[in-house]
């Protein structure tokens, strides 16, 4: 257990020392600021008031989930696996007295921590930005829930990228394959809406089912989507680990 903790701290330390997370934080802040500015201009010039108040964080969430956050999940996960294998720095980690299962788990935990931190940062920034926008009401609890539950589909996506990073030989092919698969899944959801539930990316908007928090919630739908996502997470984790464990240096 102590070895897992040490490996996890090391992964977080590596993330902290890389410029990518600072770029992610800066771009998140800039995106929120641009979103707030657009909302303000629409309100000022067109008189549409539906964009203000606590609705703003919910307005920003799907846009950033599908673009910036997913993109940085790809960057981080590709770097953790394909990047380390191609630079051979993985040897440093693999020669420590830690089993490959713990190393794999520590990397996944670090990726999930990044996702959580990035979402929380966007939530806080968008809540602050919404203070300067015309308020149209809304629940802070819903905003928090929406951002929190969005960690789950992003974790499934991160594990898919990790699986791809262990299958491909270089960082470029891992990155390109991940982005293409993400776009393909999103495209197939539109072409075959009846089968969208089988693509985990369709769960990106499952936070909308928490909108009635405090009132009536569609527990059946939430449970079904939760099971679909945890199913994907289990499958991607198992496959990713199996390939990682068999890798030869």
């Amino acid at each position: 257990m102590n070895n897992l903790k040490a490996a996890y701290i090391n992964e977080l330390f590596k993330l902290y020392k890389k410029k990518k997370i600072y770029v992610a934080a800066i771009l998140s802040a800039v995106s929120v600021a641009i979103g707030a500015l657009i909302s303000f201009l629409i309100k000022s010039f067109m008189g549409i008031s539906a964009l203000g108040g606590t609705n703003f964080p919910i307005l920003v969430l799907p846009v950033l989930l599908n673009t910036l956050v997913s993109l940085f999940v790809v960057f981080i996960c590709v770097d953790m696996f394909a990047g380390e294998f191609s630079a051979n720095t993985i040897k440093f980690t693999l020669t420590t007295p830690v089993s490959r299962f713990k190393i794999f788990t520590s990397k996944v935990l670090a990726a999930v921590s990044f996702i959580f931190a990035n979402l929380m940062l966007i939530m806080v920034l968008s809540l602050i930005a919404s203070l300067f926008l015309p308020v149209s009401g809304g629940s802070i609890l819903y905003v928090f829930s929406a951002y929190l539950v969005s960690v789950l589909p992003l974790t499934a996506f991160a594990l898919m990228v990790i699986l791809i990073s262990n299958l491909t030989k270089g960082t470029t092919s891992a990155f390109m394959t991940s982005v293409i698969l993400f776009l393909l899944f999103r495209g197939l959801e539109l072409v075959f809406p009846a089968y969208s539930a089988i693509f985990f990316t369709s769960s990106y908007d499952w936070y909308t089912y928490f909108a009635a928090i405090g009132g009536y919630l569609n527990y059946g739908k939430i449970l079904r989507l939760f099971l679909v996502q945890t199913g994907y997470i289990t499958v991607f984790f198992t496959l990713g680990y199996t390939i990682f464990d068999k890798k030869q240096i």
Binding site: N3, I9, K17, A87, T89, F92, P97, I249
Partner: protein
Amino acid sequence: MENAIVIKNLTKKYKNDRGVFDLNLTVEKGEIFGFLGPNGAGKTTAMKVMTGLSHADNGDVFLNGFSVRDDYEKATEKLGSIIETVTPYGYLTAMENMKMYARFYEGADEKRLEECLNLTGILKFKDEKVKNFSLGMKQRMGLALALVSNPEILILDEPLNGLDVEGMVEMRNLIVNLKNAYGTTFFISSHLIHDVELTCTKVGILYGGKLISTDTTENILKKYSSLENYYLSEVGTNE
């Protein structure tokens, strides 16, 4: 004497038919074992399996009595290694790399890390990023990392690579001093046969993936004028 390293029926075959075949070998605690062989003989392959970087097709390696395959964490608890090139994280400083390694070992505090960097002669560069290090400095860094755990076993693949003459002498002295002071067991591969002769207490020759000979340096030097002659004689009879 207790065994530090036991290799049992180790086989690891690559697609090009090269590798290691049915390797059986025992190294006792406190020995400095020199692993010799021509390029492509399978030395690095065997060492990768010994450190868990590769998996064997068949057989197993036991370090301090623990199986590398089944009990990796215990087997490698008191192990330090350098396999092929040393690849610390270039965007981190030498000390940051050391601290990452130290998290896995109790008692590996800053004083111990500085001691390891000092032993390998790179303490003055501890705050420099590793990406700016020369090959020799990286090699010294690799040895410093390998020493963090106060290892009972050190597996070193070509440890003298990239070192200047002064560095080679320092490395040789360090190996002998660690053996004498702490009874550290060494498993070393090197092309520099003169250094092996000066350092190693026992020698094994790997040829075509098979162990063709093992003997103590003392016995070898009784029969041959130099380790080089012994090596050429053993390899020559197997060609």
